[in-house]
């Protein structure tokens, strides 16, 4: 009875706030279907680690040391993501990769913004929220030793699930109706199996030579894609896409919650990080759209690009591509730009990983 009394007295208002935050994350995951695979474990974990004298801290610390401190979980997850990615639309029109690059502008802009408030390693870790890619955010924040991993992850996954809400107003603000109605006939160009197989290998080699710090991320992503495209490892490809990705995701969310203990999470810095994350997503979207508009200045009529596809370069695969496609259909129900948008979206996946590697190259001592 005395123990129960002591535990009850151990409850602080900060813990109660964290339970509420955990509850909100669980609600958003279940009721609003917002990234449920991550937000639900993170939400439950937030409650779990904020109980008085929580006995879950030790096993979670063990999981953290085993899977996140050494970046193992995000890298394994990347094998699954690579196996899910179909680069065919991108390979049939490689120019689309430029939009993936342009839409990483938010990362570097946010780096400058965050550096006004945080030291440079924390600023870089916060900026990578703009990669719209959870595993990249974890690897960069962990390698740079950021103490804000919990807040960064919550911001990254929340905004990824909010892409359908964040992107459309930014796109509409930067484009005219006429631009949003630009048609881009999709010329189907068959990509050979050899190209599909060589692509992940070549990308890994290029990334390794030019941005060595990105090679772990790129390499694991491309390994997953090679398993998918080789044509002889169907069973492994299915396992990577489903069982492996699910298993790692299961542990990833709840383990990240270890960094959501009230003392380190309930600070003004967390609010600032969440605000900066939003800026990163908005500027990423704007970067892609504006780049497309600039390209249109040099293109002949009939060859112009629907600037909305630039926004899909944000990564957040495949949600962003679908958002852009739906927007185009809303403007003109007979305008199908899904393949182009998905191609740009896939290039954003590659570009965000390379951006993460460049950030590590700049700041990893």
């Amino acid at each position: 009875m005395e123990i129960l009394y002591e535990n009850l007295l151990g409850i602080t208002w900060q813990m109660v706030v964290m339970w509420a935050i955990g509850g909100i994350l669980i609600y958003l995951a279940i009721a609003k279907d917002m990234e449920p695979t991550l937000l639900l474990p993170i939400g439950f974990g937030a409650i779990l680690v904020n109980l008085p004298m929580s006995g879950a801290l030790e096993p979670l610390q063990t999981l953290f040391d085993a899977g996140i401190a050494n970046e193992l979980f995000p890298l394994i997850l990347f094998i699954g993501i690579g196996a899910m990615c179909d680069f065919s639309p991108l390979l049939s029109n490689p120019k689309l990769m430029l939009f993936g690059a342009a839409a990483q502008f938010g990362i570097f802009f946010t780096l400058c913004m965050a550096s006004m408030f945080f030291d440079i390693n924390d600023a870089a870790s916060i900026a990578i929220i703009g990669a719209a890619d959870g595993p990249t955010s974890i690897v960069v924040a962990q390698k740079l030793g950021s103490k804000y991993l919990g807040a960064i992850m919550v911001a990254a996954y929340s905004y990824m699930s909010l892409v359908p809400i964040i992107q459309p107003p930014v796109i509409k603000l930067l484009t005219t109706k006429k631009e949003r109605m630009i048609r881009m006939p999709y010329v189907e160009h068959e990509v050979s199996k050899t190209t599909k197989i060589m692509f992940p290998i070549v990308i890994t080699v290029i990334a390794g030579l030019i941005a060595p710090d990105s090679v772990a991320l790129v390499g694991f992503l491309m390994f997953g894609n090679l398993i998918r495209e080789c044509g002889v490892l169907g069973s492994l490809s299915n396992t990577a896409q489903n069982v492996l990705a699910n298993l790692v995701t299961l542990f990833l969310g709840i383990t990240i919650a270890l960094r959501m203990q009230a003392a380190e999470f309930l600070t003004t810095n967390t609010l600032l990080i969440i605000g900066l994350g939003l800026i990163a997503f908005i500027v990423d979207t704007a970067g892609g759209v504006i780049f497309a508009k600039i390209m249109n200045l040099f293109l002949r009529d009939g060859h112009k690009i629907n600037p909305m596809i630039g926004a899909a370069g944000i990564s957040a695969f495949p949600m962003s591509g679908r958002v852009v496609h739906k927007m185009a259909l809303k403007e003109d129900p007979s305008n199908f730009i899904l393949m182009q948008a998905m191609g740009v979206n896939a290039s954003g996946q590659i570009a965000s990983v390379i951006a993460g590697g460049l950030i590590l190259g700049f700041f990893l001592g």
């Binding site: 490689p94 342009a102 050979s192």
Partner: protein, 53 residues
């Protein structure tokens, strides 16, 4: 936490270097992909010819 607005200006070089770097890497990837596609398309064509025979 301190507020240092000058850090924004000081770190603009990382913005420039970062965007330059990412465009450079993507440009190399585009060039290699195009070359790869041309080479393998050629092979695909010759294989079809052989099949026709």
């Amino acid at each position: 936490m301190e507020f240092n607005p000058m850090n924004f200006v000081d770190n603009l070089r990382y913005m420039g270097l970062g965007m330059l770097g990412i465009f450079a890497v993507m440009a190399v990837i585009i060039i290699v992909t195009v070359i790869l596609d041309r080479l393998t398309s050629g092979r695909r064509g010759s294989r079809t010819d052989t099949d026709d025979e």
